[in-house]
């Protein structure tokens, strides 16, 4: 199967592409805002990653993510659950819980020792504890996203926003500001809340792999997760691309299945 394969992860906020060469090595990656047209985002990403790698055709394309049905040129599609599991298992071939914190939703995927999905959980409809939540609260605090992690590192007190709802959390933040809470502690509180929302979704085992844009941008959440659960927490390379990478792995399999 001497062909490149492409995995596309059309997320609700960001879309990601991973190109694998015929040997299964990463030959290119691309990332862009999904925008309002999944189809265009998919096409642009494909063109970008292929031209950067100087590749003119791929043997198989697999789409995943919310927009997986809107990629007319995809050869197959899989849900992000399967793709994240596959991607994580590639790096950590053992039993684990994959915790994916995305722009709009959180997932916990329990992967068996053989790499199959035993079960999974997705958060309910509210964005509390997701990437959108981090953005919203940072915006409320009027602190640029790039700075919140550095500030959080300097926290002197652990606080957690307790609301299930992003809007309520914002109100909570305002109350804390009024009470004179330090910005460092508030920033730390954002990340504590993200992890709190994940932990209350369902049971977690002793080995956790974290993926998604939030851990990519703010590695501190992995530390907080480890502290909170006592589990060993690992982050694969390029955690934001794990779904796309998993999709590309599926594409390699599909290609192998082709005559």
């Amino acid at each position: 199967m001497a062909a490149h394969v492409l995995g596309l992860d059309l997320g609700s906020s960001w879309s990601k592409a991973v190109l694998l060469d015929p040997d299964g090595r990463v030959a290119g990656r691309a990332l862009r805002r999904t925008g309002i047209r999944f189809e265009d985002a998919a096409r642009d990403l494909r063109d970008e990653v292929l031209s950067a790698a100087g590749v003119d055709r791929v043997g198989c394309t697999v789409a995943t993510g919310y927009g997986r049905r809107n990629v007319p040129f995809a050869d197959a599609r899989r849900t992000e659950i399967s793709c994240h599991a596959k991607g994580a298992y590639h790096f950590f071939p053992r039993e684990m819980d994959v915790v994916d914190i995305g722009g709009q939703d959180n997932k916990i995927i329990h992967v068996r020792r053989d790499g199959t999905v035993a079960n999974f959980l997705m958060n309910r409809k509210c964005a509390a504890g997701t990437g959108a939540f981090v953005e919203e609260i940072a915006h409320r605090l009027d602190i640029p996203l790039e700075r919140i992690e550095a500030l959080a590192e300097g926290a002197t007190r652990e606080i957690t926003l307790s609301s299930f709802c992003t809007v309520f959390s914002a109100t909570e933040v305002i109350k804390l500001i009024r009470e004179g809470e330090e910005p460092e502690n508030l920033c730390r509180g954002i990340f504590n809340s993200v992890i709190a929302r994940v932990v209350e979704m369902g049971p977690l085992g002793e080995f956790i792999v974290m993926s998604g844009g939030v851990v990519a941008a703010f590695p501190i959440v992995a530390k907080i997760m480890a502290g909170r659960t006592g589990a060993a927490v690992e982050v694969p390379p390029d955690p934001q691309f794990l779904g796309a990478f998993g999709a590309a792995l599926v594409a390699r399999e599909e290609l192998g299945a082709d005559p």
Binding site: G24, Y66, R78, T79, E80, I81, S82, A85, K86, Y89, H90, P93, D105, V111, D114, G115, T116, V117, A118, N119, F120, M122, R124, K125, L249, V250, R252, E253
Partner: protein, 414 residues
């Protein structure tokens, strides 16, 4: 492209349902005839025995959901103090009433919902029905009567049954007064006989889905159950389910699958999402997954009905229902069905506005998985209020669940 295979019997069903609504409407306009509104698992048989035409607001609620008009009406009821967190059948039905509109206008040419002479509830399913009926009782100035059933019942015992029999019997004086007829035990027995037959036939129809491939799905059954709900206790319902059963057996004999290329079989626990019934049916088709059994459609199977002892058996039947039971009883019932229908997975629908039909909130799915080894998924939605339903999230969950059911789908290597 996936398609839903229609049943021949649906034609007859349409006529039956039209006949039912026009019949109730005619009775509402005739001073000599009386209309009773009844909850879906209320004492309909008793009402029929008095010659009432029986109308079911929940069925109307489902129509509002299925026609996706609920969202237009729910806010009207909310504004009156009926919270968006309570039964969305109630809020959409009351909202439609306030707007003076009903899908019965377009479907059957009725001017409005048929006016009740009496409203009769059974709180076996929830308290909402009592509050719902009380609203109409005040509006129409007619009596609201009913029975207050125990819930969370583990085993149906003698004291449970006695308490219910006494309450059913206590309804008789009001029903006599409103109908202008004396209670007729023979007629009651006769109606019970017809209801029992309807229930047996409906059950046999549903159980055809235990064959592989299944000749019908939950989504088909949600449509085909109309007469079991609104016409039980009538000879027409019996004839209809005889016809349907014959057609189903024909499908089974001919190996006709409701879901072409059926790969997996799942259990649907909870209410339908009425406004998305067809969408979800097609979605499961695409995934080659047949929803073969549900708690919901089984709710109109009343094994206990016995014309020889109508009060006692009615009390028993309306207490034995799934919704009335404790979690340990529910787990037993589901475990048996999972086995009988050879189910690969369970989809729980947690309906925001109906906690009574949402069995996901006290750890039941987790315990049942422990017990049976069959995996599950929970989707969050609602029966009527589509504002509580994220289609994308539900579909991703279902699709990922089906991928999970396929052994080795996400397996090692790559």
């Amino acid at each position: 492209m996936p398609e839903i295979k229609p049943f021949r019997a649906q034609k007859r069903m349409k006529e039956l349902m039209a006949g039912h609504f026009r019949g109730v409407d005619a009775a509402a306009k005739d001073p000599d005839r009386k209309v009773a509104w009844c909850t879906s698992v209320g004492p309909a048989e008793l009402l029929h025995s008095f010659g009432f035409e029986v109308y079911y607001p929940e069925n109307h609620g489902a129509m509002l959901g299925a026609t996706r008009s609920a969202e237009k009406y729910i806010p009207l009821a909310n504004a009156l103090g009926y919270s968006p967190d309570i039964c969305s059948y109630l809020t959409s039905d009351i909202g439609a009433f306030l707007a003076g509109e009903t899908p019965l206008q377009r479907a059957y040419g009725l001017e409005g919902v048929p006016r009740p002479d009496v409203l009769v509830y059974n709180t076996n399913q929830c308290r909402d029905v009592q509050d719902w009926f009380s609203f109409y009782g005040r509006r129409f100035g007619v009596p609201v009567i009913g029975v207050n059933s125990p819930t969370g019942v583990s085993e149906v015992t003698r004291p449970h049954v006695n308490a219910m029999v006494a309450q059913y019997q206590a309804l008789i004086p009001t029903l006599e007064e409103v109908s202008g007829r004396r209670f007729d035990p023979d007629r009651f027995r006769e109606v019970m006989g017809l209801s029992a037959k309807t229930s047996d036939l409906w059950k046999e129809c549903l159980w055809q889905a235990s064959y592989r491939p299944s000749p019908l799905t939950f989504f088909d059954a949600c449509i085909l159950m109309g007469p079991a709900v609104v016409l039980r206790g009538t000879p027409e319902a019996v004839a209809f389910y005889e016809e349907l059963l014959a057609e189903l057996k024909e499908r089974v004999d001919g190996g006709v699958a409701a879901v072409e290329g059926e790969r997996y079989r799942v259990y649907w626990e909870g209410m339908p999402v009425w406004g998305k019934l067809r969408d979800l049916a097609l979605f499961f088709q695409e995934l080659r997954t047949a929803v073969v059994v549900s708690t919901y459609c089984n709710s109109w199977v009343f094994d206990a009905f016995d014309p020889a002892d109508p009060f006692e058996s009615m009390a028993r039947a309306y207490l034995e229902l799934f919704i009335v039971r404790s979690d340990d009883a529910k787990e037993r019932i589901m475990a048996r069905l999972i086995e009988e229908f050879q189910v690969d997975g369970v989809v729980y629908h947690d309906a925001k506005t109906c906690p009574h039909n949402s069995n996901t909130r006290y750890g039941l799915p987790q315990r049942l998985k422990e017990r049976t080894g069959v995996p599950f998924i929970v989707i969050y939605g609602d029966l009527n209020d589509l504002r509580c339903f994220s289609e994308e999230q539900a579909k991703t969950n279902i699709e990922a669940f089906v991928e999970q059911l396929g052994p080795g789908r996400a397996a090692a290597g790559g």
